[in-house]
Symmetry: C2
Subunit: 389 residues, 2 copies
């Protein structure tokens, strides 16, 4: 039985897989020889050799020539991923703040920008502040517009496929704006807008407390309560971008849960709701009975929505994030007890440690995913060109 | 730039993809020529030629020699998938009945067996009845044990990775039995046990009203209320096999929803709860005010759990299945209205038309998936062997 089993068309598919394997084997590793890369990818040395040469000619890898002289054989040259070949930005556009992160293609953060925004700022003011934050990223890192490979922005409320939040958002007037169109007109790279809870969930799996998990329910616990879902390792966006919005259902009590903290007897009347919640947690920790009751009632209500998600999805991990996760010492244990009462199988509950950078970090991760796609598709065409020549 | 870009190892991956493509292009199509298969798969004619020859030698395809004589050129031989190369079984083990389906590798049902079981039957009696139902499948279809490629059984309650329902099941005593061990000792093929709502959801995407959808919330509406989830085209099992069990949460009202039907004033006291629900739907349809109120209250409670799933997952379609879906004319419209009130984005709601075969059909589909895997892995080794010779 003879005859070729593969054709040029068939090989294109294979080359795509192979070049991705080599890029992955280079990134996040010390400089590597062709032999090391072949062993790490399972590809042949000649395949790896060809792919690394193309990566070098495209500027995505650098060659490190062997130093010194070995007495045994000829020392091999090594290859290193050129993380500075491109940059990505992730921005959290919140009610009170704008937080932007710039990273290289390895995901290493090279600049952080943080600006306050008035909670009642109208959308044009908020967009202008976003624009200035991004401009600051360019100035401080001396990047040219073409150096930016992707820009992702996180906002509150369900985000549809066009990046708009027409169903609902607490950002004043934001449901009327088109942030993708606004940013695309200013920056030449692909622009994405995504929901803040979803991005925070992505961040927990990338750099947070859920790196080992493929099935994650992220609960944002703060003066608003929200959720982001990662299922089978994939961010669950939903058919219309509105997954995770279970908090809108009165029956699961997330709408009213924070009111137990806000209405705690004894709290100073003059401070903001956020500060009042912080006061309640601090006072409860110090032993105040009213504050402890308020926290207990808050957790009991938080647990109903969390239980609905746990029963619906049976995740490996529940991550407690958001501002109140700073008081995880008062929340985790009673939350676990409530879930034991309400659920058939209780997953592990872990408190986020990413602080208020989680949304911007998740935005950075989505930007890096886009950069990976670009690298892959450009790499593929380069490989095909090499093959033809 | 020279040197081979592929190696023998790399090619094994490609062959797996290619042989699967050809099997898929053969199945569910009329007898096809190599040219037709090449065009349908995008593979080269020599590749398809080699793969079809192996499929024929393995008994998975048959050759149809050209009949008559063509005046233009030599008529081509055609290949047909041999669906009778193997068979699969799917069984629904319910509280009241055991329903088994036998199908060939194309999924065409060749035999159906249905047996009554007493609702209070102890697990050994139920397993014996299951055994007799499967034996009936073998007898009536004249299958030998080796002809059976996979056996999947659907049961009520969350099923863990070992096929057991230790958390909870309404089948008396069933949480103590190990149905996979029981059946594996009797039949030489792979055996799977899965939750009934999950299997019904699979059936809706395979042969039911959700064939166009990748994101499906299936709601089983009957004297019990349950859910099965398909997300991104994949059945959501959950980390511990307990996904879809949101009905266990009192706050979403599925536990008590059917009681509105059971306690409807005027219903005959002597009939079973199931018959009472049927009586309520019939009487409501005839205009009885009490029955209409009972249905309205039932739907209002059903909608809370459905809304929790819709808000959490934002599916494309909600499928209303289970015994009460026969009364979809009374349920769909008020359910849609309630979801509009409770949800941010309301998906399409469709009533199942698969009747009481849906769980067994879903079990059949999982058995066919296993058969596909077997075909693929055996085909792959045959291809490798051919390559080596």
């Amino acid at each position: 039985m003879t005859g070729p089993i593969t054709t040029g068309t068939d090989l294109a598919r294979l080359r795509e897989l192979n070049s991705l394997s080599v890029v992955r084997a280079l990134r996040g590793n010390p400089p590597s020889t062709v032999t090391e890369l072949a062993s790490r990818t399972g590809l042949s040395r000649p395949s790896v050799d060809l792919i690394t040469q193309i990566l070098v000619s495209e500027g995505w890898a650098t060659v490190i020539e062997p130093t010194g002289s070995s007495v045994v054989g000829r020392p091999a040259r090594r290859y290193q991923f050129n993380a500075a070949a491109g940059y990505v930005i992730g921005v959290d556009v919140g009610v009170h703040k704008i937080l932007g992160l710039v990273a290289d293609l390895d995901g290493t953060v090279v600049h952080t920008v943080r600006r306050q925004v008035a909670p009642d700022a109208d959308p044009q003011v908020r967009l202008a502040a976003l624009d200035r934050a991004i401009a600051d990223c360019f100035t401080k890192t001396k990047l040219a517009p073409d150096d930016l490979w992707a820009l992702t922005v996180g906002v509150t409320g369900p985000v549809d496929a066009t990046g708009r939040t027409t169903l609902f958002t607490p950002l004043p007037g934001w449901s009327a704006v088109d942030p993708v169109a606004y940013l695309t007109a200013r920056y030449p790279c692909p622009v994405y807008v995504e929901n803040d809870c979803k991005l925070a969930a992505v961040a927990e799996r990338w750099h947070g407390v859920a790196q080992d998990a493929d099935d994650i329910v992220y609960v944002l616990a703060g003066m608003r309560t929200g959720a982001g879902l990662i299922l089978d390792g994939t961010l669950r966006r939903g058919y219309g971008g509105a997954a995770g919005e279970i908090g809108a259902l009165r029956a699961v009590r997330w709408l009213t849960a924070p009111s137990h903290l806000e209405n705690c007897p004894g709290a100073p009347e003059t401070i903001s709701p956020d500060d009042k919640a912080a006061w309640v947690f601090t006072t409860a920790r110090a032993g105040n009975a009213d504050a402890q009751t308020a926290v207990r009632r808050y957790v009991r209500d938080l647990a109903v929505g969390a239980a609905a998600l746990v029963l619906a999805l049976d995740p490996q991990v529940v991550v407690l994030g958001g501002g109140f996760s700073r008081s995880a010492d008062l929340i985790l244990e009673p939350l676990h007890r409530e879930l034991q009462r309400l659920c058939l199988r209780v997953p592990e509950i872990r408190a986020s440690t990413l602080g208020d950078e989680s949304v911007a970090l998740g935005a950075l991760r989505l930007s890096l995913d886009e950069a990976d796609q670009r690298m892959l598709s450009t790499g593929l065409s380069a490989l095909s060109a090499a093959r033809r020549s």
